[in-house]
Symmetry: C2
Subunit: 236 residues, 2 copies
DNA sequence: CATTTTAATTGTACATGCACAATTAATCAA
DNA sequence: TTGATTAATTGTGCATGTACAATTAAAATG
């Protein structure tokens, strides 16, 4: 593990152990450098990481402060950490509705930047959070990159399998969001009524080398999904 | 303007001028350093910025590549740039429905981390994108931080006014999203029907020094709002 | 005592340098 | 020609150092 990640984790633990609240001040940069025995570069990178995670904010000339949201029960949409760390205290379960190889349609091919007809793994799941229906997910994995999937893997975390077992390095993703009315089929799976609201997020996942390997379409249950995003630069 | 931001802009222009496409390779780091005549640190920071903006991705041992989304007409939800740069080619207009000082309710106070009863500016607007209704916005600005607002300012970009005229430094924000059914009143403003889907985003904006100054509740028109997010670390 | 000015504090920008990891290209072996 | 090994390429991690900007606290001023 990299030193600056390690250090960031340690600082995070420091915040927990000292029970620091929103707005509380951390030791000054120099002191942190001494305390954690790293160089300025490393400490700066650690702090930058924590800032992107929404855990601290830095004010030049003033200090480094703890940042916390005052709401609980919200799912982090774009966390630097994954689904799991994200949802400590929550139980995620999945029911597999489909798992089979198929030939990529035009739409799938376009999103994955491949030729139509190439083989992809089709995975359809319902995901539950604390026993309640969270979302309906349909994913398409390029078989040339993800050669094998089985029911056991798909019932757990697919991405964990990809990272640990297949040693794939997941890089970045493009997400497209819109809100609409549920189709009869989606509504049935989500235990809702046709025409009810639904948030749909289409995501194209890429490896660190830029190759797209997964196109997924997720429709969230509007009553059970509340999201939080901690943004840093501007926004809308 | 900072050197690394300047350099990032120049590289962005370089990409445009050379008409580089998704996946195209940029000159190698050393070459970029020579070409733009900056140090390695600066160039690295510039590239990191561009990476966070979703404009490039870097692959160790391989090179630096252009990253582009293949969809148009989507609004960037969390861009490092603001609303304006974000929406080049689009026209944003606003109709002001309300603009008045008021006493903070419990909910507003809680979100802004202030005492109930403190004076806030209440702004209610409908915002249009290319002539179509985009969203209904209700914002509450702390008067102690934003002492003055008028109709002219509010019809344009409030944030631009805050940054340029008031010299406020906008830092980070916490956004809470959920999907629901429109109330009769919201539906009326959005020219939709009660019970139609709506994406609601509550945002608490902070200055760089960590002080919250604006709590806003925006409900988007589900037919006219499609969002794109370019994420980097993990996600869900 | 209120206000301005100055000084101390504290994080950020930028430069240089060394070591190293991941990828890719070149070489070699069979 | 294929597959393995080696070497070259290329970005990242980490350390050190100087200068500086924003904030805050202290001192000076009226």
């Amino acid at each position: 593990m990299l030193k600056y990640q390690q250090t960031a984790d340690e600082i995070e633990r420091y915040i927990e152990q000292h029970e620091l609240k929103q707005g509380d001040k951390l030791p000054i940069l120099e002191e942190l450098i001494r305390q954690f025995a790293v160089s300025k570069t490393t400490m700066t990178k650690s702090l930058e990481l924590l800032e992107r995670k929404g855990i601290i904010f830095q004010v030049r000339g003033s200090g480094i402060f703890v940042r916390k949201t005052n709401r609980t029960g919200y799912i982090r949409l774009f966390s630097t950490q994954g689904f799991k760390q994200n949802l400590v205290g929550h139980t995620i379960e999945s029911t597999v509705l489909a798992l089979e190889p198929m030939s990529a349609t035009n739409n799938i091919a376009k999103n994955l930047g491949i030729e139509a007809g190439e083989t992809v793994y089709y995975v359809k799941r319902i995901r539950y959070i604390d026993g309640k229906i969270l979302c309906l997910e349909e994913s398409y994995y390029r078989q040339s990159i993800v050669p094998y999937l089985n029911r056991e893997i798909v019932e757990q975390s697919i991405f964990e399998y990809l990272e640990t077992a297949l040693q794939l390095n997941i890089g970045f993703s493009d997400m497209y969001m819109h809100v609409g009315k549920l189709s009869a089929e989606s509504a049935r799976h989500l235990d809702l009524t046709e025409g009810d609201p639904g948030l749909t997020i289409e995501t194209v996942f890429h490896l660190t080398n830029g190759r797209p390997f997964d196109y997924s379409v997720i429709t969230y249950h509007y009553e059970h999904s509340h999201f939080v995003v901690q943004a840093n630069g501007l926004y809308l």
